[in-house]
């Protein structure tokens, strides 16, 4: 007796036409029907925030939203944050600060941080403000401080690049390289992190 409905979802600026049971969770629609597996399922009860996506700019747990309720709403998942191969400042900042370890919480952390930065409108949120905003995103690896630092750094005005005009033009393509290099540097640390098993 499974009744399916046709829904047109706007995810990361793209239209996805799906045919799903109306009470299917947005999280499952994103992962299974849209092929966007960046959003994770941690707890399935709105505690951990690993499934966070933006609905019209507001971070929500996609495991608590029905597919039908997501129609007519602008949805942004972690896949929508980078522009092509260029990571957003926030994503880059997470890498630069070592704010990602096992990575399960990272998509949700990024998504809720996007809402925070949007709400802060260029002001650098204080440490407690970041912690309050991210209270619904649990991380078992980092101890949070690096995440808080990464979010705050991403909110700071860009000084380096604005300083020299001609260099700024070259800065964009060059940015990708150190990003890759740094990501590699993070990877082995991830494998050897002894705390990971204990945290599970």
């Amino acid at each position: 007796m499974s009744t399916r409905v046709r829904l047109s979802l706007n995810v990361n600026g793209r239209r996805y036409a799906v045919q799903v049971p109306p009470m299917k969770r947005l999280l499952d629609v994103l992962r299974e029907d849209c092929g966007l597996t960046g959003s994770k399922e941690g707890c399935g009860e709105g505690e951990c925030g690993a499934c966070s996506v933006l609905m019209n700019g507001a971070s929500v747990c996609s495991c608590l939203v029905s597919a039908a309720q997501a129609e007519g709403v602008k949805i942004v998942t972690v896949e929508g944050l980078a522009k092509g191969k260029t990571l957003s400042r926030l994503q880059q900042s997470f890498i630069d600060h070592g704010a990602a370890q096992c990575g399960i919480c990272t998509p949700g952390m990024l998504i809720t941080s996007v809402e925070l930065l949007e709400r802060s409108r260029g002001r650098v949120p204080s440490d407690p403000e970041v912690r309050e905003a991210l209270a619904g995103n649990l991380c078992r690896c980092t101890g949070y401080q690096k995440i808080v630092d990464a979010v705050r750094a991403a909110a700071k005005p860009v000084v380096r690049r604005a300083a020299a005009k001609p260099a700024a033009r070259r800065a964009a393509p060059r940015r990708a390289k150190p990003a890759v290099a740094r990501r590699k540097a993070v990877a082995p640390r991830r494998k050897t992190a002894p705390r990971r098993k204990a945290a599970r």
Binding site: E47, A58, L64, T112, A135
Partner: protein, 287 residues
């Protein structure tokens, strides 16, 4: 996906009238708004009902009406909207404070005030605030529109004094008397994202340096329903606030509730913390 969810039906009315008509059908649907409580049960497989009614699109439920001596908040207004609303922050700061402590951002962005009311958890964060502000709950069915005093709404554990075909559409909070002081405190296992062990809202007005003229003390997680501490209120009303009357109120509070041991806390802890938060509210008001 959670396989059980694939069999569920979802009705998606465009207007409140349409929604109310669904509530008198033979297979009565379960109302769904933000889903932050309901989907927890659905995901856990403990919510068997087959039909749901999506209220999240009803514009009628999303208004905040500001009047001179009250404020009426549509049932579909989210806690995010409540915590950010300028008039609510100014005139009902304890409601804004409670809204800011419901779950975390992800929950506040979806959860609605009518959901908190209708879900009827004894731990509902906003409910003591509504009690402390003599709130009136607006209820509608195809038959009639009526109002139920918040104080009469809960008749037992998760039992509401409303009919099965009625929907909670709004709630009105009365402005507290002038120069009154309000207070909200939620105590949980951690500061954010926790369910309360004790949640308290108070409103108190006194003549300058004189006796208490108005007092509301409401607690959650202390009984099967959120409730006012009538004994403690009586111990204060008409008296001057002194260390002595505060102690008397705390003593009277012991008789107001018989908290229980459960997964979240213990009766002893609850009793002690309830007394502590009451004093935390009252002590700074001693002139």
């Amino acid at each position: 996906m959670k396989s059980a969810l694939s069999t569920l039906e979802l009705l998606r009315p465009r207007t409140l009238d349409e929604a109310l008509k669904h509530m008198i059908t033979f297979e009565r649907p379960t109302p769904l708004a933000g889903g932050t409580d309901l989907f927890v049960y659905l995901n856990a497989g403990t919510q068997p009902h087959g039909r749901y009614l999506d209220l999240s699109r009803l514009a009628e439920l999303r208004q905040v009406l500001v009047a001179k001596s009250s404020i009426t908040i549509g049932g579909g207004v989210t806690f995010r909207e409540i915590r950010e609303h300028a008039e609510i922050r100014r005139r009902f700061p304890s409601l804004a404070a409670a809204a800011a402590e419901v779950g975390a951002w992800q929950i506040q962005n979806r959860a609605t005030i009518a959901g908190n009311i209708a879900n009827a958890s004894p731990a509902g964060d906003s409910l003591p605030v509504l009690l402390a502000h003599d709130a009136t709950v607006h209820v509608r069915s195809v038959r009639r529109a009526r109002e139920v005093a918040m104080a009469d709404l809960y008749v037992g554990y998760r039992k509401l004094a409303i009919e099965p075909d009625e929907l909670v559409t709004a709630v009105t909070l009365a402005s507290p008397p002038r120069r009154s002081r309000g207070f909200f405190r939620k105590v949980g296992t951690r500061r954010a994202q926790s369910i309360s062990k004790v949640v308290f809202a108070g409103v108190l007005a006194a003549k300058p340096g004189g006796e208490v003229t108005h007092v509301r003390l409401a607690f959650g997680s202390m009984a099967a329903t959120p409730a006012r501490a009538k004994g403690a209120e009586q111990a204060l009303l008409g008296k001057r606030l002194t260390a002595g009357t505060v102690a008397a109120a705390r003593a009277a509070l012991e008789g107001d509730f018989t908290p229980i041991d459960d997964v979240r806390s213990e009766a002893d802890y609850r009793r002690t913390v309830a007394g502590n938060v009451l004093e935390q509210f009252l002590r700074p008001l001693i002139s």
